[in-house]
């Protein structure tokens, strides 16, 4: 249905965004922007991970 090109572009954009967000989280958590940003970043990271894990597909979930 959709052309291959916008799909690939979307995927690349998705990967790049993830990479940038990942790096941002890393820098934040190791304290580059100060202790409070680190704590906040850690909490947000764990929360995000928790949400993503919780919504995982059937064969992989913790039930």
């Amino acid at each position: 249905m959709s052309q291959p090109k916008p799909n690939v572009a979307r995927k690349v954009a998705g990967v790049l965004t993830t990479v940038v967000i990942g790096i941002a989280f890393f820098f934040a958590i190791i304290g580059v922007f100060g202790l409070w940003v680190a704590i906040g970043g850690l909490a947000l990271a764990i929360l995000t991970a928790g949400v993503i894990i919780g919504r995982a597909p059937e064969e992989g979930d913790l039930s």
Binding site: F25, F26, F27, I30, G31, I39
Partner: protein, 467 residues
């Protein structure tokens, strides 16, 4: 390198303790993993969880066994190689290790028999309790020994009286300045080690399209824990870094690879150096510009303190400290990247089928062990030339044993330990090749482990789990 008694005693201890740490790190992590898995089995009665438990129990048992016997060696080696250290520090770390034996070694040992051999003799709840107790034992064990080692790094609560160390305040000894940061750091390292080990084996099976259900659960559980733990670990690591900067500046100066009292501004982050300790400079230094200032001073142009800030007779050898740190930190970054990738793939549904990712998991399977070794080399070589930081030098702590004897026993250790490692690896790989046992295609809410296991091992059982 001069092969005198002092150097040989150090090499021998370094060898035995490096070998040893591989196994308890794995055991502590796997014990917690087994607790989680058995708990999940009890809650859901899904036979996959029992299958996972049985498989990893075998590997855990071997790792635990090798850990115990190599650990006994260490409790005597304090005195064997470093008798003077034992004499001075005995009154301080001795009682702590005694409590470790009483509260954790006995606890692990007491319930390990039930955990390994009692599957058909006790009910599932008691067996789960045994698993929990073993995991608790490993946790307590890590706590005590980390306290003892942390006291060696940041001593407190003691006073020197007539050339002997006397404890003045036990709370200060145990809760010394670095313990509360190093303990979560080591525990997390152990749990990360197990997470990547489990995920790596799961990925291995997925790549070969075998034991699919088992493998998916392993990858899922492994990477779920890994993702959360690595975030926590780099956070704890940074806090620990600041603590050690305050209490052991010489270690952190050596760890970053800078020699001048104040580095250039902005400072790069070195990844490769060829240090020349004799001339107090690097023959080669390659790094990422600006990143040193950003990561180490949280600014764009901050200067980093170099090793020349420490008097020469108190400097650790930069090479080992630097590379220990880089190996540990480098792997942490890789773990973080893999974790982020796992979350992305989980969200988009390719966690179990993306082959490049599964291959990376297989490669990362032993990463926790390598990182832990790197971290410990940072910790121990960075404390040099002290064995008790600021109080006792390593060279003054050595036993009155001739160098020849130390060399012979070092060689003996190398042979016997090589034998242990070879056997361990052969059997682990054999277990992995054989794979987990088959499981029936419907879950039986079994009241007894015995029945559940019989179903699990029944040769006629049609395995949905794929054999």
């Amino acid at each position: 390198m001069n092969l005198d008694a002092a150097m040989l005693a150090r090499v021998q201890f370094a060898f035995t303790v490096s070998f040893h740490i591989i196994f308890p790190t794995t055991s502590i992590g796997l014990a917690m993993f087994l607790t989680v898995v058995e708990g999940l089995w009890l809650k859901t009665r899904n036979p996959v969880y029992l299958q996972i438990y049985r498989f990893w129990l075998g590997i855990f048992a071997m790792a635990f066994g090798v850990g115990v016997v190599t650990g006994i060696v260490l409790s005597f080696e304090f005195g064997l190689g470093f008798a003077h250290f034992a004499q001075i520090a005995g009154p301080v770390i001795g009682p702590m290790i005694a409590l470790e034996v009483l509260t954790s070694f006995f606890l692990e040992a007491g319930f390990l028999g039930i955990m390994l051999y009692g599957l058909r003799r006790v009910g599932p709840r008691l067996h789960f309790f045994a698993t929990c107790m073993v995991a608790l034992g490993t946790l307590l064990s890590a706590s005590w020994i980390l306290s003892a080692n942390s006291w060696m790094q940041t001593p407190d609560g003691v006073a020197m009286q007539n050339g002997r160390l006397v404890v003045t305040d036990w709370l200060k000894v145990i809760v010394n300045p670095s313990w509360l940061y190093r303990l979560p750091h080591m525990l997390t390292a152990a749990y990360l080690t197990a997470s990547f080990l489990v995920a790596g084996v799961g990925a291995f099976y997925l790549l070969r399209r075998k034991h699919t259900l088992f493998a998916r659960k392993c990858v899922s559980i492994g990477m779920a824990f890994a993702a959360i733990l690595i975030a926590g670990q780099v956070f704890i690591g940074d806090i620990l870094y600041s603590t050690m900067l305050k209490h052991q500046p010489s270690k952190m100066q050596a760890a970053e690879g800078f020699w001048e009292r104040q580095s250039q501004s902005p400072a790069p982050y070195y990844w490769i150096i060829v240090p020349d300790q004799a001339h107090q400079r690097n023959r080669l230094a390659l790094g990422i510009p600006y990143l040193g200032s950003i990561w180490l001073t949280h600014s764009l142009n901050g200067r980093v303190e170099g090793l020349e800030s420490t008097p020469r007779d108190r400097q650790p050898a930069m090479g080992m400290v630097f590379y220990g740190f880089r190996i540990m930190y480098g792997i942490a970054i890789l773990m973080f990247a893999v974790a982020v990738a796992s979350l992305w793939l989980r969200w988009h549904g390719g966690l179990f089928t993306t082959r490049w990712f599964l291959r990376s998991l297989v490669i990362m399977a032993p990463s926790g062990i390598v990182a832990t070794l790197g971290g410990w080399y940072l910790a121990e070589t960075g404390r040099q030339p002290w064995v008790i930081f600021g109080l006792l030098r390593t060279v003054d702590a050595v036993s009155p044993v001739p160098a020849g004897t130390l060399l012979s026993t070092l060689i003996a250790f190398i042979f016997v330990y090589a034998f242990f490692m070879t056997a361990f690896l052969i059997f682990v790989f054999r277990m992995i090749r054989r794979g987990p046992e088959a499981a029936p295609d419907h879950a039986e809410a079994s009241a007894s482990l015995k029945n559940a296991l019989r179903l699990l091992e029944s040769p006629t059982a049609n395995a949905v789990l794929g054999r």
